[in-house]
Amino acid sequence: MSINRYEKAWLGFSAVMVVAFLSIIGYFSFVAGFQTPQEAEVIDPTRIEEDGRFAEPRVEEVIPGELYNVYMVARMWSYSPKELSVPRGAYVKFYITSPDVQHGFHVVGTNVQANVIPGYVTVITAKFEKPGEYLIVCNEYCGRGHQFMQAKLLVTEG
């Protein structure tokens, strides 16, 4: 069971690489705060309109210029609201749910993305630094009209 010298070196290199990758990922997850969705509330998908946030999907200004809540419904095959606008540099907290099947939510060109699962409310927080118009697409297959599901995000100068 002797292991060749070069192979030992390769194993050592592999170990170092794995540890280095994990340290970097761990640092950005837990210190720098690049976190994936993890909060979830439960909701009855057949009665989302009984929840004021989803009865009237909208952008809500909590602290002007600093914190905005977005209440969003993803359904076959559209988002409401269809267009949202937030100022650059503000924290934007998205609450998204679905009354029918699973959907995706991806702000193209950014790392803002989440799965939307009926029975749950997905909660994610994001900050957009570059003003402009962004395309939001559904990237979880949701039926025959999946390719139509899109929305627009406007990041204003503030």
Binding site: S14, D100, N115, P118, G119, L135, E140, H146
Partner: protein
């Protein structure tokens, strides 16, 4: 004359080729349909085809080929029929029955739920029941092979298992552990719900069980390819494997780490805490290690062979390898592209890098390098070796075989690079038409969609060449003497620590419990009222 199972081995291979043929046809349709401005079929048909492509390629082609390969390896390396050829027949029959039960609703458009069948989108109950019968068939199959190994042992063979059989046992163990997840999802969630026995389903819990199964599933595909790399490549090159011990360590590491990693498919899901996601990131990086060892062992084996043939220089030896041998070339290219696939897999595996590429075209870009090449190209190359031996005919054309392998390599480079790049640009996967009403960003995707289509056409041509060659071999290849089952060399040495499968299964189950028990309990305790079924429209 071969072994009693040889008829079924052949039949399994033929079924896998039919799946490959249909799958490739649907694949071609997909790449062409996605070119901007091209419309060939309706959206509904596209998603039907995509479901069929995923199921045929990832489940039917692989499963039938693997069953035949595993039977081939076990009978040849142990030099005996399986424990019960009857049980073997039963298993093939069940897998075939399950396949038909699932395939009919797919082709009728009653199960366009893709091969991940996420609820609450609901397929015909036959789809779920068929998939379950298929899995039960594989359990019977695996039991028969494990009993064969046991019979071999009780016949007085106390030495190490031959390496190929060792790999098969590891593959089957992983399969048993993995399928617990999908069995729970089917029996306790999908089947009763699709039959209307229960009204609602928890889609997050279903994803949890699906990916418990879905990731180790990839090792069920990959390990048989590794078995070929480890056992057939050295024979092809006439050298000894660089390290038999480390090859066994590789298979053991897969038993340990292939299952507690599923959340790397669910980084974007709500309701699973960051700590658990990071734990699964960690184990995912651990499961890279056996593949890194494999890359070393196989490359070193090739280098030994090349130097023995007069290759020299730091890298110049590469030229001394038999690049004109289609079987060798298929394995070598499979490995090279798998190297790229491993690198892009490292991106998928990082919980906070994943959100750039999750559910984008990057993912099919990645999976066509792994299952779509490391596995599929190896299987095609192996066919050139195994079929002639099984049917007693010479390969119709080595030239065509070689062209086929090179076509796949370059086609896949093009297809997969384009898909990866589309993913970085944010273009979603599983989407009929990505023009999004002419949105600005979506217009930038056009050239890469065309490049992906060009690659896809080369891949389709490659599959067509492969099938033609196989068909000609079976029907009109020159007759050769069938190989007699000869004396089987038994590996030297007594079983060591790495041969202690019971121990590793126990550790693997503990790791699975650590990785899944609490977060699964957490999902259940959230107590969602669940979602009623939504019929596919």
């Amino acid at each position: 004359m071969g072994y009693r199972e040889d008829g079924l081995i052949k039949l399994g291979l033929y079924v896998s080729y039919v799946a490959l043929a249909l799958g490739a046809l649907f694949g071609l349709l997909q790449v062409l349909e996605r070119i901007p401005g091209v419309t060939i079929v309706s959206a509904g048909t596209y998603y039907l085809a995509l479901t069929a492509h995923g199921v045929l390629m990832a489940l039917v082609f692989t499963t039938f080929f693997i069953m035949s390969l595993a039977t081939y390896v076990v009978t040849r390396e142990l030099g005996m029929d399986t424990y019960s050829p009857k049980l073997n027949r039963l298993s093939y029959a069940l897998v075939a029955l399950g396949t038909v039960m699932a395939a009919v609703p797919i082709l009728l458009g009653k199960a366009s739920v893709l091969y991940t069948f996420y609820p609450p989108m609901k397929a015909s109950p036959f789809f779920y029941i068929g998939a379950t019968v298929l899995v039960i068939g594989t359990w019977v199959f695996a039991a028969n092979l494990l009993l064969t190994v046991r019979k071999w042992r009780s016949a007085g063979n106390s030495g190490k298992l031959p390496l190929g059989v060792f790999g098969v046992v590891a593959t089957l163990i992983i399969w048993y552990i993995a399928t617990i997840g999908v069995a729970i999802e089917m029996l306790f969630q999908l089947i009763p719900w699709s039959l209307g026995v229960v009204e609602r389903i928890d889609p997050l819990l279903a994803r949890n069980f699906f990916w418990y199964f879905g990731h180790p599933l990839v090792y069920f595909w990959l390990l048989p390819a590794y078995i070929a790399w480890y056992t057939i490549l050295p024979r092809l090159l006439n050298v000894r494997l660089f390290s038999d011990f480390l090859a066994r360590v590789v298979f053991v590491l897969f038993i340990l780490f292939s299952t507690p990693v599923g959340y790397h498919h669910q980084f974007m899901d709500p309701g699973i805490e960051a700590g658990w996601k990071f734990l699964h990131t960690t184990t995912t990086f651990f499961v890279f290690v056996p593949s890194l060892i494999t890359a070393f062992t196989i490359t070193a084996t090739m280098e030994m062979a090349a130097r023995a043939r007069g290759g020299r220089g730091l890298l110049g030896w590469v030229r001394a390898l038999p690049w004109r041998d289609p079987v060798f070339a298929s394995i070598a290219f499979a490995m090279i592209l798998f190297g790229f696939g491993g690198a892009t897999g490292a991106v998928n595996a990082g919980n906070n890098l994943n959100y750039v590429v999750h559910n984008t075209a990057w993912i099919p870009g990645h999976l066509h390098l792994t299952v779509g090449t490391a596995v599929a190209l190896t299987f095609m190359g192996l066919s050139y070796l195994l079929l002639p031996q099984l049917v007693g005919r010479e390969l119709h054309s080595r030239r065509l075989a070689l062209v086929q392998v090179y076509l796949w390599f370059f086609g896949m480079l093009l297809f997969s690079s384009a898909m990866h790049y589309l993913g970085i640009l944010g273009s979603p996967r599983r989407t009929y038409d990505v023009s999004f009403g002419g949105a600005q960003v979506a217009q930038e995707w056009g050239p890469f969609l065309i490049a992906a289509a060009a690659g896809g056409v080369l891949l389709f041509a490659s599959v067509a060449l492969f099938l033609y060659n196989v068909l000609r071999t079976i029907t009109s290849g020159a007759r050769v003497e069938l190989q007699q089952p000869g004396e089987v060399p038994v590996p030297e040495g007594a079983p060591g620590i790495v041969d202690n499968f019971r121990l590793f299964v126990a550790i693997a189950l503990v790791l699975v419990l650590i990785a899944y028990l609490l977060p699964t309990a957490k999902i259940i305790s959230l107590g969602t009222p669940g979602a009623p079924p939504v019929e596919i429209r």
